[in-house]
């Protein structure tokens, strides 16, 4: 028997090896030296990320259930980089808060299992693999959201996430069963040829779409977002808002642009309405938030609305701009969540009013936060501007002028509330400002990478051209 085919699953195999090594490490590392697990996990995942950049062949396995190409490899590498930054940022939190209860290894195992599910979800070649990947990527995160078992809000976040996720996946399954009824197969390659816009297919598609829209937290399905982000640990909130959302956007893009392409007349209208609703509701609710985690949750809903602008045009340009935007969004949002996490870890404060006068005491952190928020808002020198600019030009190139106009209105609204935080940090004075503190090495490294990403990604144009070339795989 020839096992060399399995090298196509290099990402999955190595990540599985990392998970197993961590479990073995949990058995053999003594309780006194448990902190070594953190270093081991970050080191192993760093190797995994580095190996991911090497060239990988195109191909498919298991009779077409699993497939991979350079674009999918690029998706996985983007997710890897995001998770690596997230691990660096949350290493100190795990050491101080989680290791005390002796539950550090499980955190990494669950996190990596979720990422493992995302890999399979992105490379899926049929609906069965897609469904299994979707569930594997959601369930461990629900466990992680309820990870601080002594905190009431953490359990609440967990139960809200698991129940809504189960509901969403049940709805998606109903949709898949209807698509199966009309097309006669669960394989994507067969569905493409058999699908046609009749009533039952459209019903199936809408139910299926709602399941994925839940993962991206588009508007009619966004109710879980703010509560879960507020209740769960910050590391998990940023994982949900960045990695989980990114993976769901990638697979939604693959499905819409290839499998469900014959239904473009339907999903174009659907995305049009949902994009407008998502942008407005996300932005308007963000205006009144005082808790930083809730604030970032609504801001991430609004960002998902912007992503739809690239999806709606359904061609290579749209795909390239969406990937580019998601890449930049990962860096900017991780920077914002990283600062929130650093402050929360040192002082336990999470309210916007606690940030008043931060610039006088912690200038570096405030500058990073400002860069991140400017990037999220899309102010020119930083990367976020280019991401948004390309998205808007892509949508305008297909004639969606009104949608782009509404998006620009929303950028203006979002600028207001992002600047509220910047004003609190830089202009307000406060008697009980957060005192100066020094971050540990992992957190500093994590924040440094995000800052470099925010500053470099926007002006380094070969990256965008590279992504544009890769996007041809979607056609």
């Amino acid at each position: 028997m020839d096992f060399s085919n399995f090298l196509l699953m290099r990402f999955e195999v190595i990540l599985l090896a990392v998970i197993l090594l961590l479990i073995i490490g949990e058995i053999f590392i003594t309780q006194a030296k448990k902190d070594a697990v953190i270093h081991l996990a970050i080191f192993l995942f760093g190797i995994h990320t580095a190996v991911g950049f090497f060239n990988l062949d195109d191909g498919s396995l298991f009779g077409g259930m699993y497939r991979t190409n350079t674009l999918i490899q690029c998706f996985k590498s983007i997710l890897n980089v995001g998770v690596l930054i997230l691990l660096l940022q949350s290493g100190d939190w795990i050491q101080e808060k989680i290791m005390k209860h002796g539950r550090g290894t499980e955190f990494f195992v669950l996190l990596f299992s979720s990422l493992f599910g995302m890999y399979f979800m992105i490379s899926s070649g049929d609906f069965l693999m897609f469904y299994l990947g979707l569930e594997l990527s959601t369930l461990p995160v629900a466990g992680l959201a309820a990870y601080e078992t002594t905190k009431r809000i953490s359990s609440e976040a967990g139960i809200k996430l698991i129940l809504s996720a189960a509901m969403a996946s049940g709805t998606a399954l109903m949709g898949i069963s209807l698509l199966y009824a009309t097309s006669g197969s669960i394989y994507f390659s067969d569905v493409i040829t058999a699908i046609s816009p009749d009533s039952l297919t459209i019903l199936g598609f809408v139910l299926f779409f709602s399941g994925l829209a839940f993962k991206i937290s588009l508007v009619p399905f966004h109710f879980w977002t703010a509560d879960v982000y507020e209740g769960s640990p910050i590391a998990i909130a940023s994982y949900l808002s960045v990695i989980s959302k990114g993976a769901a956007v990638f697979i939604l893009m693959i499905l819409l642009f290839t499998v469900l392409k014959p239904l473009i007349g339907i999903w174009e209208k659907l995305l049009y309405i949902i994009a407008i609703a998502t942008m407005f509701i996300g932005n308007l609710f963000a205006l009144r938030q005082q808790n930083m985690k809730r604030f970032l949750a609504y801001s991430s809903i609004a960002q998902a609305g912007f992503i739809l602008l690239g999806l709606i045009i359904g061609n290579q340009l749209g795909a390239a701009t969406v990937i580019y935007f998601v890449l930049i969004y990962i860096f900017s949002n991780l920077a914002a969540f990283g600062v929130v996490q650093a402050i929360s870890l040192q002082t336990g404060k999470e309210l916007m009013s606690d940030y008043e006068g931060l610039y006088r005491t912690n200038p570096n952190l405030s500058l990073i936060m400002m860069l991140a928020l400017f990037s999220l808002a899309g102010i020119p020198p930083v990367a976020g501007f280019f991401g948004k600019f390309f998205l808007f030009t892509a949508a305008a190139s297909e004639g969606y002028y009104f949608l782009v106009f509404l998006a620009v209105v929303n950028v203006t609204i979002s600028l207001y509330y992002y600047l509220l935080v910047v004003r609190a940090m830089f202009l307000r004075k406060s008697n009980n400002a957060i005192p100066y503190f020094k971050n540990k090495i992992y957190m500093r490294l994590g924040l440094l990478i995000t800052v470099i990403g925010i500053l470099i990604l926007g002006i380094y144009s070969p990256l965008y051209e590279y992504i544009y070339e890769l996007s041809i795989n979607l056609q």
Binding site: L128, Y131, E156, G158, M167, M174, L178
Partner: protein
């Protein structure tokens, strides 16, 4: 094929089951009841897969295989949800939805 029962009857049944589940999810006041409603949605799609496979495409058993996987994943989902509910119960001694309203708006 089942004698005397057309595919429309079964699809009507699963659709009713699905919407009972959705209704229960939205209106129940107890977390366990909500979990049962979700299970109902999942089981509706399981029956759907099997019946579509049996009536429309009996040559390849794709739908049947799919339904087995759904049952397995649903069991995992339930176990995790019950674990989280038990953990919540330890802290607030209640599994009512109205008691899980610390975070709002």
């Amino acid at each position: 094929m089942i004698e005397g029962i057309s595919i429309y009857d079964v699809l009507t049944l699963t659709t009713i089951l699905f919407f009972i589940g959705v209704y229960g999810f939205l209106t129940r006041k107890n977390l366990i009841s909500i979990l049962i409603s979700v299970e109902m949605i999942l089981n509706a799609s399981v029956v759907n897969f099997v019946i579509i496979n049996k009536y429309l495409y009996p040559d390849i058993l794709q739908g049947v295989i799919f339904s087995i996987f759904i049952i397995a994943v649903a069991a995992a989902e339930t176990a995790l949800a019950v674990a989280i509910i038990i953990n919540l119960y330890r802290q607030i001694s209640s599994v009512e939805v109205k008691d899980t309203e610390v975070m709002k708006y």
